[in-house]
Symmetry: none
């Protein structure tokens, strides 16, 4: 027996007046998701607890069976792990953005969504930063996509408990990192020195001169957020005694997957946007299940569209996901495979951010008790036979079908 | 007001292809269970948590309202208590089997399912075992049924944290008990010395000579498993201020019932197998409710059939249970009695062991809100008005109807 878990990032939503009170998932054409619901069991899931909005990292920790509210230690280290950096115990890591600064103000938090090639050149210039005040701290840095960076500080007595230098929205001053605990004052100094040095190096970089000439926003600063250390958790591969793989592009999600001990599977054309090649992902999933007991597949696009409050793009992405599910219903051996489909949180178009609404869940497979629900949506799954579950239950339902849970007691 | 809880061990199952995708409970003829569902409220229950497979002892602790994952201290002491042995604080007890050994190998873990009379004679020969290395430890031993024993070690500084000598399946060597904590090394020595002495005494026993002559497997060793001490829990009789009784044959379940402070009721013809006399059990339940506020009734057969993967026997047992429920619907005064029916875990025929699937629950009685569900099954109860509950909620539902729960707050 094999199992796959597909998480459609931010797919869940709320009723929308323009759609006659339907949700995007209800209004989109989703014959394959509906067919899967008809053949399986459905329910709704509070990823953390009713009403509590989860970040995508925390949501995935929960969906992999961890007590996310307890084990989460910040975003940064997961982001760095997902960017294939080595993160050691004691390392404190941050998510970074190349940004446009002008006289201490953050003019654009993404440096005009700078292209990856340019950003990579700038990241190279930051590789050999030496801190003067704290020479015992090493700065490690990796560019991921577009304006995105992961930054790791390695040295004695560092703490993740410092405030962000990223002010969170454009037009505000670059923030100074402040220690949030007494033990974090060294780290705050480290972050602030790094920030000053990066400003200097980037401000003098010829690529920024060139961007200025071409009328592009300069990428003349790095803003940091989400200081974190790696959570210490038992890999799910050990907990459930499974060979496990993942298909995901987004660094943060990749980091959670790697923390859980899953092996990455590379897919050509998967980009983590609405243009992602879902068909290629589905093909990779079918192939991965030949080798692995469990495969996790992350589809990002619906969340991006929701953050942009772009209803049409969200519905188009849902329909692409539906096509992917159709491919899987055709190609997976459903006599020997359990398939769960859910979301990591709702990102309502009306809100443009994560909310704490429950997400729909469906499970199908050889011994799943079909519950008579005939569609996959936030509303239809409210009536589902699985009832209302928590995020950390989902992997247990799958592992129960795979016989990978130890009996407690005699 | 009175209340009864009927637990049908291992009754819940999964859809079975030979039954057209129905579960045994759906496919069997169960007019009385369905009538009870129509008159009452239904739901599904995760005995511990979604997906987590419980042992029967742990499941019953949960159904009696205890936080089973926290209070459980191993099987052995519950088994000994259920065999009507005295178990004192500090005592460490094991479940034992008479087994057939040959040159250190366990050839048969049940000594050819030795008859009870022979096993009782052998158990007598083990009554006066004196340990040489640890003379401060007393060995107490009781035969229960067929090959089954309960063994209690009494003395200073004993620990339940030793590994089993039972290798778990035939054809493997008799295992040496190993300490699982530093504090358990004395106990491991005690168990190993007991095992050696038992081998010697049984090997020389005339009954084994006789069995050899008759071509029967010798019962020339004792294998131990499930070391445990008694959990310290408040009896439910005190917690809920009820007079409570139980009807159960299986030692392990009897032990949990006694731990919970319930009084045993003896039933003629109740055997803990599929041949158990369910009618006699039902009569005893009706009678017990004249005296007691709460009576628990355990029916074992469906689990035995499931472990043997015998679908016909499981369905026949379900139909016998249905007959018992019919008798109860006729004879109980349902104007003054609440009746709950559930299972302690699923034991799917396809798996032959406990799984973490939820179990169906029904409650009927004078003030139960009927929910419109018209059948008692894993699937029908998914739609039930009670929703999805946890095992430890069930007794609280009953005690709430009996007015035995204290208001929390003002």
């Amino acid at each position: 027996m094999k199992a796959a878990l597909i998480v459609c990032d931010g797919m869940a939503d709320r009723p929308i007046r323009r759609l006659g009170g339907k949700t995007p998932l209800e209004a989109a054409s989703t014959p394959n998701l509906d067919e899967a619901a008809r053949r399986g069991a459905t329910g709704i899931v509070d990823i953390l607890a009713p009403g509590i909005p989860p970040g995508s990292d925390v949501a995935h920790l929960a969906l992999f069976g961890y007590d996310a509210l307890k084990v989460y230690r910040g975003r940064g280290a997961l982001e760095a792990l997902g960017a294939d950096m080595e993160v050691k115990p004691g390392d404190v890591a941050f998510r970074g953005n190349f940004a446009t600064l002008n006289d201490g103000l953050v003019v654009d938090r993404r440096a005009g969504r700078i292209d990856s090639a340019s950003a990579r050149r700038l990241a190279e210039a930051l590789q050999n930063i030496k801190l003067e005040k704290h020479p015992d701290v090493e700065v490690l840095l990796r560019h991921t996509t577009e304006h995105r960076l992961a930054v790791v500080f390695r040295g004695p007595r560092l703490s993740p408990h410092v405030s962000d230098t990223d002010p969170g929205k454009a037009g505000l001053p670059l923030a100074e990192a402040k220690p949030l605990t007494v033990a974090a004052s060294k780290t705050a100094e480290v972050v602030n020195e790094f920030t000053r040095l990066a400003l200097k190096i980037l401000g003098e970089h010829p690529l920024n001169e060139e961007r200025k000439r071409r009328g592009l926003l300069e990428a003349n600063g790095v803003i940091l957020r989400g200081g974190g250390v790696l959570p210490e958790v038992e890999p799910l591969t050990a907990r459930f005694n499974v060979k496990a793989a993942f298909i995901a592009v987004t660094s943060l999600i990749r980091g959670v997957c790697k923390l859980a001990g899953m092996k990455p599977i590379k897919v050509e054309g998967a980009t983590g946007t609405t243009k992602t090649n879902v068909k290629a992902k589905a093909e990779s999933l079918v192939k991965a299940l030949e080798t692995y007991d469990f495969c996790f597949l992350h589809v990002k696009g619906a969340d991006n569209a929701s953050h942009d409050q772009n209803l049409e793009e969200k519905m188009a992405m849902i329909e692409r996901i539906d096509g992917m599910v159709g491919y899987l219903l055709d190609r997976l051996n459903l006599e020997e495979t359990y398939l769960a489909i859910t979301a990591d949180h709702a990102t309502p178009i009306s809100v443009g951010n994560h909310t704490g609404d429950p997400v729909p869940l469906l499970i199908l497979g050889p011994e799943v008790l079909a519950d008579g629900v005939e569609a996959f949506s936030e509303r239809a799954c409210m009536r589902g036979g699985l009832g209302r579950l928590r995020g950390k239950d989902v992997i247990h339902l799958l592992m129960n079908y795979l016989g990978r849970l130890k009996k407690f007691g005699a």
